[in-house]
């Protein structure tokens, strides 16, 4: 599990950001105060740092350039200052990315994920299994007892989200939002159509009643 350090002086944002990151499968480290940030990073190096620019004691630029003297850990600047001087400074001092408040969480999460992927070899499972059904993310296929069928981009993403939340009811709104975050702009009607198609494809490989519809709640596998 990747550890992310959140250096932020607004307590509400710090807390909510931690909740968000934890619910997306990251471990969060919060610095104790703003005086010994550098030594804390040296002691337990995180995999990625979210860094605000306006901070008490030392500003984010200073912290960033100090970190760069001993570590190449990816750093994302998260700030409400958005002049181009700030952006330029952040790049010059070794920041890897620059996101301005009020950021969109899906953008933030996507940038974190891509930066982690670029820096550390991907540890993502290419294959997901639930029951006797296996989903192959690499070649976009779903398999059951040796029979497999190809899925479209939309269908694959839907199945991936259902597999990830196996055993839980997935609300339609969550599913649609997840697809939008993956840049697939599927509306409510199209989602129903996609689910129907997936069920047909599952039938072809001998799986029935794999996806249950929970009335007014969502889908469940």
């Amino acid at each position: 599990m990747h550890q992310i350090m959140v250096i932020e002086d607004d307590p509400v944002i710090q807390e909510e950001l931690s909740v968000l990151l934890k619910s997306n499968g990251y471990e969060v480290i919060l610095p104790k105060g703003f005086f010994n940030i550098i030594s804390e990073i040296q002691k337990s190096p995180p995999h990625l740092i979210l860094l605000d620019i306006n901070l008490p004691v030392q500003d984010g630029f200073k912290i960033c350039s100090e970190i760069r003297t001993f570590s190449n850990v990816p750093i994302i600047f998260v700030t409400s200052r958005n002049t181009d001087m700030d952006e330029l400074n952040s790049i010059m001092l070794g920041g890897d990315d620059f996101i301005t408040k009020p950021y969109n969480t899906s953008i933030l999460l996507a940038r974190i994920a891509s930066l982690l992927k670029r820096t550390y070899a991907s540890e993502h499972a290419e294959v997901m299994t639930f029951g006797e059904v296996t989903l192959h993310l690499g070649n976009s296929k779903i398999e059951h007892q040796g029979n497999s069928v190809e899925l479209t981009k939309n269908e694959l993403k839907i199945m991936a989200f259902l597999f990830r939340n196996a055993g839980k009811i997935v609300p339609r709104a969550d599913l649609v939002e997840y697809l939008w975050d993956s840049q697939l702009y599927v509306d409510d009607n199209a989602l129903s159509v996609n689910i129907t198609r997936i069920r047909e494809k599952l039938k072809q490989i001998g799986v029935t009643d794999f996806i249950q519809t929970k009335h007014r709640q969502g889908y469940l596998i």
């Binding site: 607004d10 509400v12 944002i13 909510e16 950001l17 909740v19 968000l20 619910s23 409400s80 200052r81 958005n82 002049t83 181009d84 001087m85 952006e87 330029l88 301005t100 408040k101 009020p102 950021y103 969109n104 969480t105 899906s106 953008i107 709104a173 969550d174 649609v176 939002e177 939008w180 975050d181 840049q183 702009y185 509306d187 409510d188």
Partner: protein, 337 residues
């Protein structure tokens, strides 16, 4: 300065001369002076007095003509008192000092207003940066506690952050040149980011989004272009009809990249079209109850001009609107790399 007007001004002097002449004639006749001598005296008197008045006219005329010419050559007319020569005549001196004093007080007023404006602008920018922190916090709280209510809140929050951005860019749009960073940007990436920023608003309004063939790179400032796209998306949602739709499509045309943003909204009246980029113009669509400020498109146009992007709008009522953005290819940027 006309001769007639000048003579009118000289009337008291002329009357004085005539009165003096009359007095002399009466007095000298009384002491039996010869008429011929009297005549010579009068002729010379009139000659000298007339030539004085006449010559003075030309001198004054030349003096003022030079002043007027100087004024005309000046870019900032109010600086005339700074560049004009010091007058010699007492009367001119008084006017000169009047002019200087009036100018000085005006300059003080102007610089005071300028300073106040600058301070206000700085305050607005600071305020916007400050308000972004609680907006981010609210967004995160909603994100962490998802329900129908928080989704609605998030859609509203998107509007709030959009309005604050508008205020920020309005404050800054005067000097874009001090605040931009031209980078290589992938159009599709920029579009996806903007859609993500407006996700809840689009979902709540059931807008279907399509991104076609947008894998072109352009050289521009990401932040400003993001603002423009945000504004255009917000308009699409605001002026939508049933089953709203936005289509982004790009094309390479005559050395330019063309990005089209097509919607199927209520459209714009033909008579309104030429004026939509004017500041404060709301048009027919503004009158029929959509809360319109007339600032959004004005800012888009202004930013596009500063970034060298062409912007054009095609629309018909009931048939939707297409906004076209023309990005220059910018080969010179490539050469520098």
């Amino acid at each position: 300065m006309r001769y007639k007007e000048y003579l009118k001004d000289q009337l008291p002097a002329i009357v004085t001369h005539i009165l003096s002449m009359l007095f002399c004639v009466v007095f000298l006749s009384a002491i039996d002076m010869q008429a011929s001598i009297l005549l010579i005296l009068l002729v010379f008197w009139i000659l000298i007095a007339a030539s004085y008045i006449h010559i003075r006219f030309f001198l004054r005329k030349r003096y003022f003509a030079e002043l007027l010419l100087q004024l005309e050559r000046l870019d900032k007319k109010y600086l005339i008192s700074e560049v004009m020569e010091h007058p010699i005549l007492t009367e001119d001196k008084i006017y000169y000092h009047l002019l200087k004093a009036a100018n000085k007080s005006m300059m003080e007023q102007v610089s005071e207003s300028k300073r106040e404006r600058k301070e206000y602008k700085e305050y607005i920018e600071q305020w916007i940066h400050d308000v972004k922190t609680p907006i981010s916090a609210m967004k995160l709280i909603c994100e962490n506690n998802k329900s129908d209510t928080t989704r609605k809140l998030m859609a509203e929050m998107e509007k709030v952050s959009h309005y604050t951005d508008q205020a920020l860019y309005y404050a800054r749009s005067e000097n874009v040149e001090k605040d931009y960073l031209i980078k290589e940007v992938l159009l599709s990436e920029m579009i996806h980011a903007t859609v993500a920023e407006n996700k809840q608003m689009l979902l709540q309004n059931h807008v279907s989004v399509e991104v076609k063939n947008c894998d072109y790179t352009v050289y521009t400032d990401e932040k400003w272009i993001g603002f423009i796209l945000n504004q255009l998306i917000a308009n699409t949602v605001k002026y939508s009809e049933k089953e709203p739709q936005i289509i982004f499509e790009a094309d390479s045309k005559q050395g330019q990249i063309l990005l089209m943003l097509r919607d199927n909204g209520i459209g714009i009246l033909e008579s309104d079209l030429p004026r939509i980029f004017e500041k404060g113009f709301t048009g027919e669509n503004g009158r029929i109850g959509k809360s319109s400020t007339g600032i959004g498109l004005f800012l888009c146009k202004r930013l596009c001009e500063k970034l060298g992007i062409g912007i054009a709008v095609k629309s018909k009522p009931g048939q939707g609107t297409t906004v076209e953005l023309y990005f220059p290819k910018g080969d010179f940027v490539k050469v520098q790399e």
